[in-house]
């Protein structure tokens, strides 16, 4: 797409050319004949995508995206992205599965729902729509540096987030080496339905800390990209993240169960404690990414990330994909991702009655010990030689943890304390 060309420039150029023609003694050459092609004001390109994510019996999400990039002269780039994210369905409330019926209050406090014995404790009232906008500008600084600055904003009914980021890259060694340094600052405000519960207060006597709370995140990123050979490129990133503020999940609870040795040991007492997490978190991650071109039909991508934080969580993530050209236009790309994480120090699948309440406690399955596998295949077609492309991707994501932990007792031994999650993901991306 070409927008208005620069008018003055063409005039100046034709004048200059006309003058030289005259000087060269060729007066018969008229101005319009010496007109040379001109730069468009901006070159536009974009991507439209849609994501469908559906968990068995739980959440369904639809996430359309549109991203537009304008490229200006001097390799300056402006990218804008708009995302809508709609979630509906049921969400795990954190309470342990039981052999007796369990009744819970909805987050708003206005309603109740009952979970049958042996069923996963899902809060059926989950619904959310998120809007996100981001804009970023990048441009070279001299011949060796590149500067990027961006802003992101997102809003959903109980969460508002605003972030700023910037990074500076330096090219070295004939552009074979790139060093990057970046930072991002994020400011979040949380307004949970029914107010933010006081951590570790009980569902029956919910205390709230007011209508809203906040959180700040500061991220630092250090990156190195190195061309290894004509076929191989590698990237190493180190990311330090510092969060402070409200990090509890206001909708998650922990079950209190009858202590071991008592009649009905392991059965819920009917008391549920609200989630409470530390208000500080320091995260480190080291990420290595590699792309290898077979110089024939394929590109092999592989990456590994090691993560650890001061909540006691560490994780390993492995990713491999292989993009194969089937013809000059069609390609297929199978991919596998393997993820494993350890649990947070304060993760508890249940809380035993009569023991002292810990400082922090969560039963959020996402902070528990788990492994996850994603299997996927993408198929796509190039529509021209300038980057126009359409692709479709289907993935299956399975998350599983310790369903029968060693410390389970009584009736807890006969229930699933970490119900697994399976999701199917469909994705369409059109680049133009």
């Amino acid at each position: 797409m070409q927008l208005r060309p620069k008018k003055q420039k063409s005039l100046k150029m034709t004048l200059a050319l006309a003058t030289t023609s005259l000087l060269a003694g060729l007066p018969q050459v008229r101005a319009e004949e010496v007109k040379l092609p001109e730069a468009p004001w901006a070159k536009w390109s974009g991507t439209i995508g849609n994501l469908y994510y559906a968990e068995q019996d739980r959440v369904t999400a639809i996430e359309p995206v549109i991203s537009l990039t304008a490229e200006f002269s001097g390799e300056r780039k402006w990218t804008n992205k708009f995302v809508i994210d709609t979630l509906t369905g049921a969400s795990h409330n954190g309470a342990a599965m039981a052999n007796t019926p369990q009744t819970f209050t909805t987050p708003s406090g206005a309603g109740h729902y009952t979970i049958a014995p042996g069923q996963v404790t899902l809060d059926p009232s989950f619904k959310d729509t998120r809007l996100a906008l981001s804009s970023s500008w990048s441009q070279p600084l001299g011949t060796d540096y590149e500067l990027t600055a961006g802003v992101n904003g997102s809003r959903e009914y109980d969460f508002t987030s605003l972030s700023l980021n910037s990074s500076l890259s330096r090219y070295m060694n004939n552009k074979n080496t790139k060093l990057s340094l970046g930072f991002s600052g994020e400011f979040d405000s949380i307004n949970p339905v029914g107010g933010a519960p006081v951590g570790l207060s009980t569902m029956a006597a919910k205390g709230t800390m007011g209508a809203s709370d906040s959180k700040q995140v500061l991220d630092l990123l250090f990156g190195l990209t190195q061309v290894m050979s004509r076929q191989w490129i590698v990237q190493i990133n180190y990311n330090l993240g510092m969060s402070s503020g409200y990090m509890n999940d206001p909708y998650k609870i922990t079950s209190e169960v009858v202590a071991a040795g008592n009649p009905g040991a392991g059965d819920p007492t009917g008391t549920y404690y609200y989630d409470k997490r530390p208000d500080q978190r320091l995260k480190h991650s080291i990420f290595v990414d590699s792309k290898y071109h077979t110089d024939g039909w394929g590109i092999i991508g592989s990456s590994y990330r090691y993560f650890f934080d001061d909540w006691g969580i560490s994780s390993h993530t492995f990713n491999i994909d292989y993009r194969m050209a089937l013809t000059k236009k069609w390609f297929v790309e199978p991919s596998v991702r393997y993820y494993m994480q350890s649990e947070a120090d304060f993760y508890k699948a249940f809380f035993s009655q009569g023991t002292p309440l810990p400082d922090y406690m969560t039963s959020d399955y996402r902070l528990g010990k788990m492994t996850a596998i994603t299997l996927g295949v993408e198929i796509g077609r190039k529509l021209d030689s300038y980057g126009k492309e359409i692709s479709f991707r289907a993935q299956m994501y399975t998350q599983s943890g310790d369903s029968h932990p060693a410390d389970a007792f009584g009736s807890l031994q006969s229930v699933d304390l970490y119900p697994s999650v399976t999701a199917v993901i469909g994705q369409v991306i059109y680049k133009f």
Partner: protein
């Protein structure tokens, strides 16, 4: 010692695998354009190169496109969709690129009538073509 001598000989024989010499263009202003089929800005530069070649041909400008594709067939395919009215030289070995110190793609060198390098630039920027034209015209005077 003799081994080294043979090595040097072998090397120099390789360097000029393509018989290209500026001597043939003495008295001409030469615009050398190093390009490859996979290079995006090269596609943009071709129409402009065609036009300056046509425009200044009679005044003594010779545009030479030096192709640096590893595989010549890729270059030929490119030329089908982006025809060139200027001279094309294939330098699959890349020794000419090395000789002229190509630092990015495309890379252009403007050489005056006496064979001296007047100017060189990395990349092709439509908004900088004014400067390129001025240099060419200066050299043609």
């Amino acid at each position: 010692m003799r081994f080294l001598f043979i090595l040097t000989l072998l090397f120099s024989a390789n360097t000029w695998a393509e018989d290209f010499s500026l001597d043939a263009y003495k008295g001409q202003v030469v615009y050398l354009d190093f390009w490859a089929s996979w290079c995006g800005p090269c596609k943009e530069s071709f129409p402009w190169l065609n036009q300056i070649q046509q425009k200044y041909k009679d005044k003594g400008l010779t545009v030479i496109g030096i192709n640096l594709d590893k595989d010549k067939t890729n270059a030929d395919e490119f030329l089908k969709s982006h025809p060139a009215v200027f001279k094309i030289i294939y330098n699959t070995q890349g020794d000419l690129a090395k000789k002229y110190g190509v630092k990015g793609m495309p890379f252009s060198v403007i050489i005056d009538k006496n064979g001296k390098i007047l100017h060189s630039h990395i990349g092709f920027h439509m908004d900088k073509t004014n400067e390129y034209v001025q240099t060419i015209e200066g050299a043609l005077k």
